[in-house]
């Protein structure tokens, strides 16, 4: 899709708000974060989970949501997770914000390895974490999302 078409799409006056997800779907998404990373679901009590076709957004919980939905918006809240195939992939933005609460599947990289991963996007790597999405950290700072597959590490850093 060309840039101009994307631009027009964004300005579509019929664009609709992402929709609040039903309770079961919310529990499924937050349950995934808790199971995979140990981030407690209660962390997100103050937030509504909204969704578009493939994206989940975190938006502050408010009794005024119905009023606000009268506004024609560009974005609402923080892009939280994306559906990639059948899997949920947390965004780097969300992990930078909430990743400090994780207790597992956190990968600590040294500076050289991080630089190489950012440059090459995919590097050979063996680690003691389960295959799947991981939180990439370096020197005490959270960088964002990676994918660990047997023998390799893939960067989803912006």
């Amino acid at each position: 899709m060309s840039r101009s078409r994307q631009g027009r799409k964004k300005m579509d006056p019929r664009a609709v708000w992402p929709q609040p997800v039903p309770r079961e779907e919310r529990e499924e998404v937050l349950g995934y974060l808790e199971a995979r990373f140990g981030i407690p679901s209660s962390t997100f009590e103050g937030y509504e989970l909204l969704r578009t076709a493939k994206n989940y957004w975190l938006f502050v919980r408010t009794p005024h949501l119905a009023d606000l939905q009268r506004l024609r918006i560009q974005t609402a809240g923080l892009l939280f997770l994306r559906k990639v195939s059948e899997y949920l992939k947390p965004t780097s933005a969300a992990l930078q914000r909430f990743g400090h609460l994780a207790t597992r599947n956190v990968v600590e990289l040294d500076r050289l390895t991080l630089d190489r991963l950012r440059l090459e996007r995919k590097i050979p790597w063996e680690g003691k974490v389960e295959p799947g999405y991981v939180i990439l950290t370096c020197e005490g700072r959270i960088w964002g999302c990676g994918l660990h597959l047997p023998g390799k590490l893939i960067s989803y850093l912006p």
Binding site: K10, M11, F59, V60, R72, Q96, R141
Partner: protein, 308 residues
């Protein structure tokens, strides 16, 4: 350069009577603007690793009188290429740019409209001040500026803001807000420094009816308030036509009252007269912040309430 010096002094001469220590002001124009950043407490409340990280990259960082704001030298350098910026740990913004949010005094749960929000320094500050729990509609009329705003919201990890692209003076009236911030487009005289900033100052003047735009924005902002709601109007210019005259216009058109507020930097009262024209006497409650008195961009901030 010589020509630019003459022009700056000619230009500001009309403010000689309203700028305290006018000679000191003129002297300050030869210095580049001091550089500051805000620590993004949504991501970290410990400034030490950020300070030591920036120090390793050759910056000198020191605390300021405003919580979470830090002064940086060399001031000509850019923080935008640092890892601390990339990871959303810092937001470079001038110290005085924090003042409108002080006046707004945002609280968790409040519905707040930031009418001229891009690139998002004040939207993200409101989010930070309320621990991501105010509900902020961040608006800008230009889509390219919204892109920068959205990027900053994502970089800082803000989840309490939505973004809209409306012309401010025509913002839809369907939603009423507890508080509205109008950090208006202005001639930017408060950020002018010889050879460094504000080169567009002279060109802008006279070409755009800034005062007219500002009045339109302020009246619409008022109409978007709930009864009793709070309105903050700010600019980074010295020009009374863009400051007191705009607020005076609102006071004549609507049931608004000026409020006093406590500022964390030294302020001067708003003007009640300019070039022989009187303004509403309550305008003494507005605050003027002069660049050479605060070592930052000069600001004007007025806090108003919609009468019930």
């Amino acid at each position: 350069m010589e020509r630019s010096l003459e022009r700056a002094e000619d230009y500001f001469a009309r403010y000689r009577e309203i700028i305290p220590d006018y000679e000191g002001f003129l002297e300050s124009l030869s210095e580049p603007l001091p550089l500051y950043f805000r620590l993004n407490t949504l991501k970290t409340k410990d400034p030490e690793p950020v300070i030591s990280g920036l120090t390793r990259q050759g910056f000198r960082v020191e605390k300021t009188e405003i919580p979470w704001f830090f002064r940086v030298e060399p001031r000509e350098a850019s923080l935008g290429n640092t890892e601390e910026y990339y990871l959303g740990l810092i937001y470079p913004m001038t110290l005085s740019s924090s003042l409108p949010v002080y006046a707004l005094d945002p609280q968790p749960g409040e519905l707040i409209l930031d009418l001229c929000a891009a690139p998002g320094s004040k939207t993200t500050q409101i989010a930070q001040w309320t621990e991501d729990r105010a509900v902020i509609a961040a608006n800008d009329r230009r889509l390219d500026r919204i892109t920068a705003l959205v990027a900053n919201l994502r970089r800082l990890g803000v989840a309490c803001a939505l973004t809209t692209v409306y012309r401010g003076e025509m913002y839809p009236l369907e939603v009423s807000f507890d508080k509205v911030l109008v950090d208006a487009p202005c001639s930017g005289e408060g950020r002018y420094r010889k050879g460094y900033e504000g080169e567009l100052l002279y060109q802008k003047e006279g070409r755009t009816n800034l005062s007219g735009i500002q009045k339109g924005l302020l009246v619409r902002a008022f109409d978007l308030l709930k009864p009793g709601g709070i309105l903050v109007y700010s600019t980074c210019t010295i020009n009374p036509e863009e400051n007191e005259a705009v607020v005076d216009y609102l006071l004549r058109k609507r049931q608004a009252e000026l409020l006093d507020w406590e500022a964390p930097l030294p302020a001067r009262p708003g003007l009640t007269e300019w070039e022989g024209r009187p303004f509403h006497p309550e305008l003494v409650k507005a605050k003027r912040f002069f660049p050479h008195e605060i070592q930052a961009v000069g600001f004007f901030v007025a806090k108003l309430r919609r009468r019930i």
